[in-house]
Symmetry: C2
Subunit: 230 residues, 2 copies
């Protein structure tokens, strides 16, 4: 028998597909923060019964991008300036930890993957595909968390990522302006390839701060306007 490692077969349950669909709709901002999800309407649109839809929604509630009030409904979470602040300050800590853990595990495969993801960001930037730009940038950023060989860290970061992606999408949607065309990740990638771990950690921290300030200013704008939820 040939030595092949097959990847797991895709989940063939409706539930899994619904989760993916809903998550995408939320993270891309198609479903607005605070908006209520009507079970009957959605299940009819998707041609699915309410049972798998409800199970899917339960998952997304635990994932932190939906919130549920018994007998009232399930809503897309509201984004406050404090939420963003909280997420980012924790993210800094996780990044530092991830870099420390990843550092000794870096090898050629790591560097190759780093370049591959960096290239994906640059491609999305050239294509002016802002949604994809957000996705790829987060994937580039996530490599250190995947490589750190700590399942709990990875899981935690993925939960954070959901929100960050949502925040970025809203930001981009609100501003309706192209995200910076130049490449802001060049230094980050270079430092991850280098020999000064502290410098890489420091840069990650500062690098995050830049994006963060922009996001915060957007979030503060948001709070001056009425929202659809509580």
């Amino acid at each position: 028998m040939a030595k092949l490692d097959f990847s797991p077969i895709a989940d063939t349950t409706r539930r899994a597909e619904i989760v993916a669909l809903l998550r995408r709709a939320i993270l891309t901002g198609q479903l607005e923060p605070g908006q209520k999800l009507n079970e009957l309407r959605i299940s009819e649109q998707m041609r699915v019964s309410r049972a798998p839809l409800r199970e899917a929604m339960r998952e997304l509630v635990q994932e932190g991008i939906l919130t549920s009030i018994p007998y009232a409904g399930t809503f897309v979470i509201n984004v406050t300036a404090k939420d963003i602040d909280d997420a980012y300050s924790l993210n800094k800590v996780l990044d530092e930890f991830a870099i420390e853990r990843t550092w000794k595990l870096r090898d050629q495969r790591f560097f190759d993957e780093l370049d591959r993801r960096h290239e994906a960001v640059k491609q999305a930037t050239r294509d002016r595909d802002t949604t994809r730009q957000i996705e790829t940038a987060l994937q580039l950023h996530g490599l250190i968390h995947e490589w750190a060989d700590n399942s709990v860290l990875l899981e935690t970061w993925q939960r954070l990522t959901s929100r960050l992606q949502m925040y970025f999408a809203l930001h981009q949607q609100a501003r309706k302006e192209a995200v910076p065309a130049e490449d802001v990740h060049e230094t980050y990638v270079a430092l991850l390839k280098g020999n000064d771990m502290r410098a890489a950690q420091r840069h990650a921290r500062e690098h995050i701060d830049l994006d963060f300030e922009e996001l915060l200013s957007y979030a503060r704008d948001l709070e001056k306007r009425p929202s659809k939820g509580g």
Copy 2:
């Protein structure tokens, strides 16, 4: 009208109660790691239909203490030495962050609550109630995370706590011996009341290491024996 702030009414859905029941069963070790949860059997025992039970299980899957394989079943997660290692190393980082954030927010209410929880641990210790001892110790430990005024941190810590509590319960169950009767939290509490933040952070880190070593030795024992799951 009198100025009273009422606390939210308890969730009255079956789903919420099922979640609580199942979580408790898992965290106290009544449901063993790797064990399969038969939906029909459980729903009959609880006198509930499978719909709310399945939704509850979906929540616990996302919470990280159950794992689901389509068309095969839902199982209690298996505890490996690496899982414990991962959880603890991340916990150290979170603790340091939590202490830093909490530090400036400490007030009389904080100190009172700290004492209250410390007292609860001592009471459970006197009662030789090991399960409660685990619960209260984790609650004492959790105060800095609750006080840090960062919802994402708190959420993350609560997810970690579930696993830690499960690990501790298994540990205690396997050893069948009383946990240390003396009070190991005295220094911790004192430092949190003091003025040297760095010292508090350092102690939290070392304090965790102690429990950790014991847990790891247990986990390594576990892996030499057959388990019920994959």
